[in-house]
């Protein structure tokens, strides 16, 4: 401890000055460590130089505020900074790839993107839809229930933070294998089963208690998630666009509303910007917040009323970085400074130092700016809902952040300095994995293979989790995550949010981490394709995307290299499909004693359907109907569930052929609009065989298929045709009477009729040699599918 450098100011409360000017480089780094700032040497030097110019020592409040603002979590240094790769410099991944795609597509229906806590697109009748997906990996690793619950709470506040009323949640989770050997668990890493139980319970508890339906999601298992759980929490909201307010001015009062502030969630963001270690439990437990969904429910009611009565000029949530981020970013956005009296902040218990008050991440808090003449009315609204709200300061014309506590000035920092961290420069390399395509004979009994695949954790039914989430509350869920009596897995969820309109919002997602082990570029392209085709399969179109990155330490060049590749694919395929990104989030530094996380890009797709009466579900409807495959099957099983089952990764990762995919998507949408599609299901993990089995047991009917009819490029084995995970493909059920119409529509596309729906509830597939390759009762297939994660069967 460099005690001599910490100078206690003579105040009735705890306040230190730090003599940075006198500190050596080594000491600067030590101070960064001792205070939990997570700032690197260059950044510490910039802070030292700034205060040298100011002619005084910084206070602990100032250092903490700067550290929060400059953290990876808040400032996204990696995405905004420079990256050197192959002798070229990328000036901001975000600008170069993500935002650029949106800018180039520039659709008229984007209302506000990348500006606020959530992206907003136009919906119908003057309403907009807001969407945001957050990562909450680090907290969930330390405290699964609390981490996941506050992840949901946080993303709901992001949506409230653009004046939208939350209408649906989506949650995508990644865990280690549930049968992970306890003996192999290093100290400080929790068993995947414990994490799985805690995270799913946390998500259910928050969404259910707040009364927001959890309608979409996925659960994925990967060895690398054992040490690095992946928790993506998303929320979709609805707002009347004319009530959207973003016009704060100097003099507007800063109001803090919601829960009280305590020591929970101190240093959450700096913690999220570092690797997890054995000590994370001990050191970082206070970084995980405590969830109180009922408080947020009340807060939501008050905010919606304040919105409707137009009482406030701006709003933001308190998430990572607490007041520090909320106050700083609000002032910055409106070209103001801010004055805040920290002693006005309502506390859970006394004894918090000013810096703790300023950076605490206690949950269920929102920050509003209110024109002085509306203050009383706004406070009344909160009071009516039993929500505490307090005026804690005001925006100022002077460009400084000034914080006071009990009459003492505890911080006074120039806004421009605060929001200008030294630019980060990182080095990346493209590393190509040395991989081989496996060689193994075709299994003699493919029925058995299909049964085993259906119980593979990534394919097996997630019903036992999905039913613990309320997906019906609000009564607007037109297409549910589980289809009908047999709980088939629908490709997307559809919400009908407006009473006087048939228009629906379509929510789906795509994620293929296993492909990333081969090539990050194709993983990203595949995730985009999967999210879009899931949306298209139920009738969605006019699709907006959200990107969420979970990666390892970006200081390591090859990790950063794969991130660059994924971003390139994001640009290439977003522009090719004309699907703009509207919001996103990254979580880096996902590393544990077991190694780095498998790079995992989640793409969430938000589409619309002009009339929910057009919506198509995935269950087979009627014997005698025809079954078509749409899209080309390739010999690309690298990273597939089938290879994994056989003990291989492989090399031939599925690619995305955008031009062909677009034609397929358009044709499917057209067929749905013309009412020619009775059922539609996308082909993903497990390929054709799994998709066909799911359609059959969801509908309680059989299928008779012939692999010889499946359009393909050089696929010479039945098992490869059955289980290839080539992108951009669908199975479509068509009434026999519509055969001519459907085929006319599909002319010049890659498609074929491959069989028909049968009364006899068996899945019978003829192999390439004309012999029966698969023959199983649908009930048996369903049992295999339900067995793995079900406590009921």
């Amino acid at each position: 401890m460099n005690e001599s450098l910490y100078i206690r100011r003579k105040t009735a409360f705890t306040l230190y000055e730090v003599a940075l000017a006198k500190a050596s480089d080594r000491q600067l780094l030590e101070i960064s460590g001792e205070m939990g700032l997570c700032l690197n040497l260059e950044e510490m030097r910039a802070v030292r130089d700034y205060f040298a110019k100011e002619g005084r020592n910084p206070t602990d409040v100032e250092l903490q505020a700067i550290a929060q603002t400059w953290s990876e979590h808040c400032y996204h240094k990696t995405f905004k900074g420079k990256i050197r790769i192959d002798n070229t410099i990328i000036n901001s991944l975000f600008k170069t790839y993500i935002a650029k795609a949106t800018k180039e597509i520039n659709p008229r229906w984007c209302f506000s993107v990348f500006e606020d806590n959530a992206g907003i697109i136009r919906f119908d009748r003057g309403y907009g839809i807001a969407a945001k997906v957050e990562t909450h990996n680090h907290p969930s690793a330390v405290e699964p229930f609390g981490g996941a619950a506050t992840g949901v709470g946080g993303v709901i506040r992001d949506v409230l933070g653009v004046w939208a009323d939350p209408i649906a949640c989506t949650d995508v989770l990644g865990f280690g294998p549930l049968d992970y050997d306890y003996a192999k668990l290093p100290a400080g890493v929790k068993h995947p089963k414990y994490v799985y139980m805690g995270v799913t319970a946390g998500i259910g508890a928050y969404g259910n208690n707040m009364g927001i339906p959890t309608v979409n999601g996925a659960i994925y298992f990967d060895e690398s998630y054992t040490g690095n759980v992946v928790v993506y929490c998303g929320c979709v909201g609805l707002l009347p666009l004319k009530k959207f307010r973003r016009n704060a001015q100097p003099g507007h009062v800063i109001v803090l509303a919601g829960g009280k502030t305590g020591r929970d969630g101190i240093h959450g963001v700096t913690f999220a910007s570092a690797e997890l270690t054995e000590k994370s439990e001990e050191v970082s437990r206070p970084a995980v917040q405590i969830a109180d969904p009922i408080e947020e429910e009340k807060l939501k009611r008050a905010i919606i009323e304040i919105r409707d009565r137009e009482l406030a000029s701006a709003i933001t949530d308190l998430g990572g970085g607490g007041l520090s981020s909320a106050v700083g970013e609000t002032a910055k956005k409106f070209g103001c400074g801010a004055k805040v009296q920290l002693d006005k902040v309502p506390l859970k218990y006394p004894g918090l130092a000013p810096w703790e008050i300023y950076i605490s991440e206690s949950q269920e808090r929102m920050l509003l700016t209110v024109p002085p003449e509306n203050l009383e009315k706004a406070l009344e609204v909160f009071e009516k809902e039993d929500v505490e709200a307090t005026a804690i300061g005001a925006l100022t014309a002077k460009q400084r952040l000034q914080l006071a506590y009990q009459g003492e000035q505890v911080a006074d920092v120039d806004m421009e300095f605060l929001f200008k961290p030294p630019e980060s420069m990182k080095t990346a390399v493209y590393a190509t994995a040395k991989l081989e395509e496996p060689e193994f004979p075709e299994p003699a009994n493919l029925t058995e293979t299909l049964m085993t695949l259906l119980s593979a954790p990534n394919i097996a039914s997630k019903e036992s989790v999905v039913r613990t989430y309320d997906h019906e509350v609000k009564g607007n869920t037109a297409l549910k995550p589980l289809q009908g009596e047999n709980s088939g897995p629908n490709d997307a969820a559809v919400i009908k949010p407006l009473e006087n309109s048939w228009k629906g919002a379509v929510i789906s997602c795509g994620m293929n981490p296993n492909y990333g082990k081969i090539e990050a570029y194709w993983m990203a392209a595949s995730a985009i394709d999967e999210a879009i085709r899931n949306n298209v399969a139920v009738g969605g179109r006019r699709i907006a995307l959200l990107d969420n990155f979970t990666w390892g330490n970006p200081e390591k060049p090859e990790r950063l290299g794969s991130l660059v590749r994924a971003c390139q694919a994001c640009y290439d395929y977003a522009t090719a499909f004309r699907t703009p990104f509207i919001s996103g989030k990254d979580s880096l530094y996902n590393e544990s004693p077991l190694g780095p996380v498998t790079p995992t890009l989640l793409i969430t797709a938000l589409g619309i359907i002009p009339d929910i009466r057009l919506v198509v579900s995935m269950d087979l409807k009627k014997p005698g109907d025809l079954l078509y495959i749409v899209g080309q099957t390739f010999n690309e099983l690298g990273g597939s569930e089938y290879y994994k089952l056989m003990g291989y990764l492989g090399k031939s990762v599925p690619k995305v052929r955008a031009a062909q995919a677009k034609r397929t998507f358009r044709a499917v949408t057209k067929a749905i609009d013309l009412g020619l599609v009775k059922a539609c299901h996308d082909l993903s993990e497990g390929g054709l065989a799994v998709a066909a089995a799911e359609m059959a047991f969801a509908g309680g009917l059989g299928l008779r298929l012939d692999l010889r009819a499946v359009p393909n490029k050089q696929v010479s084995r039945s098992d490869f045709l059955l289980f290839s995970e080539s992108n951009s493909r669908f199975l479509v059920e068509v009434d026999a009477k519509d055969k001519a119409d459907f085929e006319a529509l599909m002319r010049n596309k890659v498609y074929a009729q491959i069989g028909e729906v049968t009364e006899d509830a068996r899945l019978i597939i003829q192999g390439l040699n004309g012999k029966i390759a698969v023959d199983a009762s649908v009930a048996e297939l369903q049992r295999s599918w339900k067995r793995t994660l079900s406590s009921e069967v």
């Binding site: 259910n208 009364g211 009922i294 039913r467 309320d470 509350v473 607007n476 009908k496 269950d619």
Partner: protein, 272 residues
Amino acid sequence: MKREEIRVCILRVGGTNCDAETQRAFQELGVQAETLHVNELAKRRNLLDYQALVFPGGFSFGDYVRAGAILARWLSAKLDNEIRAFVDDNRPILGICNGFQVLVEYGLLPGFEGISEYPEATLAANIPQGYNCRWIYLKQENRGKCVFTSKVPAGSVLRIPVAHSEGRFLFPREKQQKLLAQLVENDLLVFRYCSKSGEYAEGKYPANPNGSFHDIAGICNREGTIFGLMPHPERAFYWWQQPDWTRQERMPQYGDGKLIFESIVDYLTKKF
């Protein structure tokens, strides 16, 4: 009374979260439905301006003690007189899910001898344990006393979703057979969980989603004017809310839940 004159009070507190869809269901039938915070009602003291009272679903006060317990005690402390007057006037009170829990905790249901000083039944933690959101089938058991099911023929089967973790209807074990007999005798039994074809679930999951005694899903009081049920009729109001609508060639205009709201409105138009 004309439909458009009828006023339904939907009562909410922090944690109530099914008020909007419940209000929508009533409004769709042409009656006035207002959602009111309990603080507001306690201030205005105008419960008797309304002809019907509804406790919607949710997690009132977070259900941090026992589902529905805090709101029930809060109401009996602050609004007991109004509520008793409301009951005495045979004005209908509906409790859905958390609302049912509130009615039982308050002593309004089953109310064998009128409003009870202590809960006579309970809605315990589900077996199998945990939150469960699914569509189930209900058999209408009431012989005619319950005003909330006048439009639902006895013996008919309705399809409505449940979503709760504390919905296992129980009587004290030593009295359960006696109380069940009373329930049946006084025509307090309204809904039992059953299969699609109408066979009683006999406690078997998932037809009986929570392990309720005697497959009980909903009951009313002696007068048939207070009714509580765990399933959510407001989520089965429109055809497009149903889980299998994409399978149907032609869908009926509405879901089965609408019948319950219609029954209430029918009662109100005749009574007032």
